[in-house]
Amino acid sequence: MKDLLRKIRKTGRVAEDPPERPAESAPDALRELGGSVQLRHVDAGSCNGCEVEIASVFGPVYDAERYGARLVASPRHADALVVTGPVTRNMEMALRRTYEAVPAPKGVIALGDCARNCGVFAGAYGVVGAVRDVVPVDVEVPGCPPEPEAIVAALRGLTGR
């Protein structure tokens, strides 16, 4: 216990200072969420590179929860979906149903090049299409994988904080 406390004191704060607040970019439908957006992550067929970046976004260094974004465990608890990867045939129905399960008002973030336009997987036999082809997309984050700063900026655009 003492070690733990000492460790905490010695380590101090590791989160980076928040950069300037980006210009508000939330779609109109999501404005009423008022600074707090609960996110459900759906892996629609990603290579898991994007997941690693999401993990670091919600880790201590970038700490996106500071800006009112939070990952939750069920679409029923969520305001928006974070979808990574191209939509594969196996995940198409699941993605649709997950989208239906989110209560309105709701939004979708397509994270990574794959989610935007199938990226390196374009034309593969198991791929149905980009996220936009299956559910309506509100925000897109480019990059393969996108840098944490870019993801944080996109999330801050949604929360407005």
Binding site: S74, P75, R76, M93, A94, L95, R97, T98, E100, A101
Partner: protein, 679 residues
Amino acid sequence: MTSVTGAALSASLGASVLAASAGAVLPRRIRPVAAGIGTAAAGAAAVVAGVAAMTGRSWSAWLPELLPLAGVRLAVDPLGGLFIAVTGAVAVCAAVYGVGYARPADGHGGHGLDGRTVQAVLPLFVAAMLLVPAAASVSTFLVAWELMALASLLLVVAEHRHRESVGQAGLWYAVMTHLGLVAILAALAGLAAAAHGESFDRMRAAAEGMSPAVRGAVFVAAFAGFASKAGIVPLHVWLPRAHPEAPSHVSALMSAAMVNLGVYGIVRVGFDLLGGGPRWWWLLVLAAGAVSALYGILQAAVATDLKRLLAYSTCENMGLVLVGLGAGGLLVTADARPLAALALTAALLHVVNHSAFKTLLFLAAGSVLRATGLRDLDALGGLRTRMPVTTAMFAVGALAASALPLGNGFVSEWLLLQSLIGSLGEGGTITAVTMPVAVGALALSAGLAVATFVKAFGTGFLARPRTPQAEAAAESPAAMGVGMGAAAACCVALALVPAFTVPGLARAVQVVLPGQDAVAGQVTLRLAAASSTMSPLLIAVGVAVAAAALLALLRFATTWRVRRRARLWDCGMGPMTARMEYTATSFAEPLQRVFDDVLAPETDVNVTPLAESAYLVDSVSYRARVGDRIESRLYRPLIAAATAVGEAARRLADGSVHRYLAYGFFTFTGVLIVLAVTR
């Protein structure tokens, strides 16, 4: 002397005999109906007799010609009347239910329950149970007791043609009940010898002057015998075997009426005939009760067989009753009579409550068993839509058994708790140490009971059916519904207006503690001794009003919202299958882990690798079982030892006539020598 009590009791016994003969001679088609009506009439008459006795109309009779040498001596006082009334009420429910239960169910075939043996023996079993609390002499008592044991044994093995396990269960029951009989016989015979007379009056009068050693020995032997009938740990082993295997209405009679007579015996011998005793008696009773309550409900919490679960719950409830008796006895020795009377009242009320809800639960379990052929909770489910009446009945019983407000179990457990808490300051160190422990045991068992019955109801009746048999279940015949309904009505009445039992219970307690009135009040129960009050009816009204208000508020709050019909969330893939549901085993798993040291569950994991490589798995089999640890640790070695002795004794009898003659000769000479020396 004629009185309502005597007339009603005679009518009841007469009706039982008529019902038994109807069951023995009538053709199969009308046999269950005739015997059922007769038994129900006998039960109803017994209720009248018991209630009459509880209102103070005691009755006694001596029929010298009926039994050779001793004659039959009967006496019904309020204490006996209480047990007669309870037995009668259970018999009414079980008999009406039995009419439907004995009819072959579609799909599962008859269980042969409309056969002559079952139909003729069931009324006799009821009659024997009515005679036990009415007996007023040792010989009458023992005859009735043995009749009860034999009749119930015949009923337990009624379905031996259908299942292997029935025979085993019957064997355990026969052995345990007869060992119990031996202990009771020894106790009562010893008491009668010391009192120079075998009528209860005589023994009562002579008990004061006996030596403490004799009294202690009599009490311990009687306690052991009666505790084995009441299913008290560690003498409970027959219960979780016999109750599941017996036909369900017989289980109800055994679990709700017969085990009570064990309690009756302890009260009659300990408090009445011996007139109370030293502290260690009651500490023994209290400890046995507390252990039984905890062990019973723990086993029930992890049981997956519905009727086994109910059987263990009987162990628990009888344990609670014994906690009440033990506390009562202890408080008498501490000279806190008002509190002692409260504890005894609580114990007796719990007997009544337990009988009501256990009848209901066993009958409902039987209804499920008849419709599906299943007792395994892990294979049931989805009965709510298929068997709505049975589900509602089981829900009422489960609420009562989990000792939550609105159920009748709550009332008596609350009384018991009050008496235990109230007695903290009485009687010095011993009570100051034991009572908090008893309170803890009571609270823990009540908490586990909630988990147990949530499990039983939730996995057994709600959700989706887990097997085709459960899927194909259909509601039981009307007669069974009426039987269950009567038991449910008793539960509700006892839960809402328990005060109607108070005068009768007070008289029953006054048999052993004269001049005490522990509980008063009509709607609100007032406990003078523990200076507290409770009003079950007002609680119920309050809960109903609060629930209605909450519902109205929710309705109102959602009126201005648009309703959206959405798919059930199934992780996006679906469809959800019954395999994904919580099972009884998985529900109880956390509890099982917490109480790992007590329950010692056995798990077997067998991994079979592929032939090509030890790292590739072909199949995994997993088996988990929670056995009865007391049975395997205490009884198995005993049985093994008895078998070994039996094998060894066989060598004495090798078939040689000469040797047998020699045995006779030497024994005879030996006896003569002993007699010559001692005289």
